[in-house]
Structure formats: structure tokens, C-alpha cells
Amino acid sequence: MLAAATLAFFSTAGDLLLWAILGLSSLLGAVGCLNLISSQPRWQRQTGILLFAVNLLFMGGFILICWFHWQIHDNISLTLPDEAVTWLNSQLNAMNKGASFSLPLYDPAQPPRYTIPVWIENEKYFFWFFCYSAMTLIAHRSLAHRQFRAVLHILLAIQVAILCLAANPFRDPLPKFFAEISPWFEPGLTPMARFGLFMRLYPKQIFYYNAHYMWFHPPLLFLAYAGMTITFVTSIFMLVKRDLALEKLGYDYAKLGYFVLTLGMLLGYPWALQAWGPNWWWDPKICSSIMMWAIFSTYLHTRLYANKPAMWYFSAFLGILCFAAMIFTFLASFFFPGEHTFQ
């Protein structure tokens, strides 16, 4: 297992960084509230600097998470005694016969190690909100619209508060992963029990933790979620005022969001075939994702006709609906049972 000092350093340093991010983003949120109610723009340049600092801290946290995963890779391996190898490989060979996707045989020279992507468990929220923070910085610099900037800053403060108080990835790092792996390091495990445990841990390591698709499918979706949030904010303003610059900015983020969403969803498909076989159709998360994609496609199509007043508002309404569908899709993992469930 990992050394206690590594865990302690990761938790302490990460917690400090996160609280610093919360402090700065709360300040941004407070200035955002002030800008929303005030008739004059206030501290626009300073908020830009604050936002840049928040992004730097987010980057620091992300590097820390990468370092932590590197420690896991270096220190945790599923090493079996030499006498078990021949028998294990014969079992794996038998399992692989007739299977569409096979498990690699055990190589005693290179026992299986965990190469875990940096967006699992609570880390996914960190990555998602980091993407949003970076996009907010770009949007802040692209358009000097006081109220639009204010809403972006308030949303960032809310997201960081959620991250800090409900989904802190540093306080108790990767609890599910460590709960799964900790029996492996218990002293006095019998050879049969160790073998049984290996057969439970190994397929999950191959098809989930070490899956190549894991490096592309989730981050692309989180990037899309961040882009959709910016489009959502511009859509709200579109309902209030006919501002072409704002609409163009929203459309730019929608294009980026749609591109990465489509690519992310497509890349989930061969992974699902590999990990679950063909029996995952009608999984709730997939249903809601298809729904979200359909709404997003509709938004992009109707936006082509946004020169008509009715279509302008309909397009704005769809931008808001896209965001609602995104939230629904995300929460679906908590409330609906299925292959993607977080329950």
C-alpha cells in the first residue's frame, strides 16, 4: 500500500490548495453579486487577475493529483507468488477462450499495476470544475459584459463550494479504490483467498482502471459539461436582451461542447462493448445521454434560424434545456441503477 507520509502530504497540500481556491472564488462570487446589482462595473480588472490565480491553483491541484496517481502506479501492484502463476494463466486462458475481449496473461516479471486516470471518484468534480474555471477565464477575456462575467463568477464560486464541502478529492483520497484494494495487503491472506481476490481485482483493473478509453471518454464529457454551462449562461441573457456578441460567444462554446460531447460519447461505445458486452442498451445513463445529445443537436440546428425573433427565444430556451438535461444526465448516475451508477 501507499506510505502514510505520501497520503498525509497529498491530503494536507491538496486541502490547503482547495481552501485557497475556495477563498479566492468566494471573493470572485461576492464581487459578481455586487456587479449584478450595481449599475456600474466594479473591479473588472481585479476579477480577471483573481480568476487567473484561481486557475493557477487549480492547475497546482491537478498536478498534485497526477503525482498521487504516479505514486499509486509505482507502489501498488497485484503480485502473486511464483507457484500460482502457471495455474492462474491456465485459468485465464480458459476464460479467454470464446471471449470477444481477452484478459492479458499474468507476467511475473511485470505484475499488473494500476494506471488510474486522474478523474475517478471525487477527482472528476475537480477536473470538471477546473475545465469550467479555465473556460470562464477565456470567456471573461473574450467579452467585457459586466453581468455575464458576474454570473460566470458566481457559478464558479458555487462549484468550488460544492467541491470543497461535498466532493473534496484530497480529504479522503479515492475511498472506493482503496476499499477494494486494501484486502490485498492484509497479512495472513491464504493462497486461495489471494487467488480469489486477484480474480475479482484483475478484470476491473483491465476493463476499468487501466482502460485506455478511461483517458478519453470521461474528460471529454466533463469538458463538454463545462462548455454547456457557459452556453447556458449566454442563453439566459439571450432571453433578456438581443445581444449578438453574447449569442456568438455562446455558440462558440456550444460548438466546442457539442464536438467534445459527441466524440466522448462515441469513444464510450467500444469501451462499453469491451467491458459489458452488447447488453447495456437501455441503461438509464445512456438513455439520458442520448436525450441530452438530441437536445443539443436540436439547439445547434435551431440556432441557424436565430435571426427570427421566435427562433431566437426558442434557441435560447433550448440552450437552457441543454443545461437542465446535462444536470439530469449527471444526477441520473446517483438515482437510477445501471452500469454507470454511483449508488
Binding site: P270, C287, M291, T298
Partner: protein, 214 residues
């Protein structure tokens, strides 16, 4: 931005309506899955559930495929011919379903769409002025053609899911076409700028070489 009232506009509205119904069915499927506790049921009941949901969805998927079948030739034909083509397509589908089965009917429509879309893509790549596009710009048209080619291939590929190798090969072609199409379509101006710069660079180098030779 486009004018409302065009054939394209009504096809988009029809697509939106069908996508809305498919979305509603998806939401129904989610709640149905949750409340019926399908995840805790034996495999046979899960299979029955999937079969039932597929049966509900099939008419709308057919509608989507038929709309797609009409959408594709709109690049090649004027509206009058498009109406005739739509009627012919309906008759062809009904005929094949009557004589063979639904799956073959859909495969025929999708294969026909695929062939037509390939023609559209080739013409778009050749920069043909005969193509009927409301959008202007070479790269935008190529991108749009690629996205639609990817979409048709994706739906067609679903019919081959039992043949895993072919299914995955077609899937990756689909992904490549869609990704390239989206990049060209969404960032057409940037792509055009890159190609213009490259062309200008090449022209400058050719001019230089020519001047050296002289």
C-alpha cells in the same frame, strides 16, 4: 443565418419532433427501469424489458431513418424531384417490408442513403456548384457532408452489431468521418485560413524558385 419556410427548415422541424419523442421515450425508459427494479431481475426479464423498449422505439427510429433518407438527396435534387423521391422511397420501404422484412427495408434505405451521401461528399470535395446547400463555403459543405455520412454509417453499423469485427471497423470509420466533419463544419473559417496560408506559402516558394531559375 437561414430563412424559415424552406424545405430544409421543415425537415429540421420534423427531425426535432422525432428526436423529442425519442428523448421522451428515453426518459420513460429510465423511470421504468428504476421503478421495475430491472437491474435486480433475471437475465430473461431484462431481455424482455429491452425487447419491449425496442418495440416502442422502432417506429420513431424508422421515421428518423426515412427523414434521413429524404434529407440526403436534398443536396442533389430540386424540391419537386425531392417530393417524388420521398414518395418513391416510401413505396420502396413498404415493398421491401412486405416482401422480405423490416430490417432489410431499413438496410436498403440506409444503403441507398449511404451511396447518395458518398456522391454528395465527392461532389462537395470537387467543389461542384450543382449541389444544393443553403450554407456557403467549401469546407463547411465538405464538413456537413462528412457529418451526415458518419451519421448514416453509424445507424447502418448498428444493424451489424453481431459481427463484432465489421461492426468496430465501421464504427471507427464513422467516428473519423464525424470528427473530421465537425471540425471542418464548426471551424470552417479557421480551416480555410490555414489552407489559404499554406497555399500562399507554396505560391511564394514557387515564385522564389521561379525567380531563382530565371
Amino acid at each position: 443565418m437561414k430563412k424559415t419556410g424552406s424545405y430544409d427548415f421543415y425537415l429540421i422541424l420534423a427531425t426535432v419532433a422525432v428526436l423529442f419523442v425519442i428523448s421522451a421515450i428515453c426518459v420513460y425508459g429510465m423511470f421504468s427501469f428504476k421503478f421495475a427494479q430491472i437491474q435486480n431481475m433475471p437475465v430473461a426479464i431484462k431481455a424482455t424489458y429491452m425487447e419491449r423498449m425496442n418495440t416502442i422505439l422502432i417506429p420513431f427510429l424508422i421515421a428518423l431513418i426515412v427523414i434521413l433518407g429524404i434529407c440526403i438527396p436534398k443536396r442533389l435534387m430540386p424540391t419537386v424531384w425531392l417530393n417524388r423521391f420521398a414518395v418513391l422511397l416510401g413505396i420502396l420501404l413498404a415493398g421491401v417490408v412486405w416482401w422480405i422484412d423490416l430490417k432489410t427495408g431499413l438496410t436498403v434505405i440506409l444503403t441507398l442513403s449511404l451511396l447518395l451521401q458518398t456522391v454528395v461528399l465527392i461532389l462537395a470535395l470537387a467543389g461542384s456548384a450543382r449541389l444544393i446547400f443553403e450554407k456557403k463555403g467549401y469546407w463547411l459543405r465538405v464538413g456537413s457532408s462528412l457529418i451526415h455520412l458518419g451519421l448514416i454509417l453509424f445507424i447502418l453499423d448498428l444493424l451489424f452489431y453481431k459481427n463484432l469485427k465489421l461492426h468496430l471497423l465501421l464504427f471507427w470509420i464513422t467516428t473519423l468521418a464525424t470528427v473530421a466533419g465537425m471540425l471542418l463544419c464548426f471551424y470552417a473559417e479557421w480551416v480555410a485560413g490555414v489552407f489559404d496560408r499554406t497555399k500562399a506559402c507554396n505560391n511564394r516558394e514557387e515564385d522564389k524558385e521561379a525567380s531563382i531559375e530565371q
